[in-house]
Symmetry: C2
Subunit: 124 residues, 2 copies
């Protein structure tokens, strides 16, 4: 029977061409990248880790680990969290977190431009 969430791995045959990724490393390894940037944006949008995780089909456990990893490695926390209280609590992205998001998307954009330039040198 069709489960609620189908998950359909996007392994579709991608167009041939040059591809790339950027991320930032921290003291413990990966510190900030595409997935974490999106997660933070969803937290801003929804105000909670639970809803943010659901909205991107991610297990809460995994989302919490990512948030925890960022907060441990950043000088100032990227996410402030409240347990209990009005509505049961919630999560809020700090200024530092917002800056990280902006910085990442800038790197991401620059990389796409770089790839487009380099791809002209490509002959398969």
């Amino acid at each position: 029977m069709p489960k609620k969430r189908e998950k359909e791995k996007k392994n579709g045959p991608s167009r041939p061409g040059l591809r790339g990724r950027v991320w930032m490393d921290g003291p413990e390894g990966t510190f900030f990248g595409h997935g974490r940037a999106v997660l933070l944006e969803r937290i801003i949008e929804h105000g909670s880790i639970t809803k943010a995780a659901k909205s991107m089909d991610m297990a809460y456990r995994h989302a919490w680990d990512l948030v925890d990893s960022m907060n441990r490695q950043a000088k100032e926390p990227f996410v402030e969290v409240a347990t209990g209280g009005k509505g049961g609590g919630g999560a809020r992205v700090t200024k530092a977190g917002e800056q990280a998001i902006k910085m990442f998307w800038r790197f991401h954009k620059d990389l796409q431009a770089f790839l487009k330039r380099e791809e002209k040198k490509l002959r398969l």
Copy 2:
């Protein structure tokens, strides 16, 4: 008991900073990247898939899959292979394969320069 090969995953705490990767996609997905470039170089060096795989602590099965994947996606094969015969056979990297190696390292080098430039904009 201590196994023969310990495999020690290099998850060491990396220096904080900007990191990145480039690769080429083909009709079936990943077509050429860092690992495959090194593999081809080892095949040139040793003249066989078996020895190349051993030299980089990779299972023959995996190495063969990578070679097969490249040969299926490339217009001209990157590796020509001989089973049986003198010395049991062997593998040889074609001109097309050598060109792919050169092209990849060029992209790789350009990316490193790009990352170094971009990293100046980074503030953790």
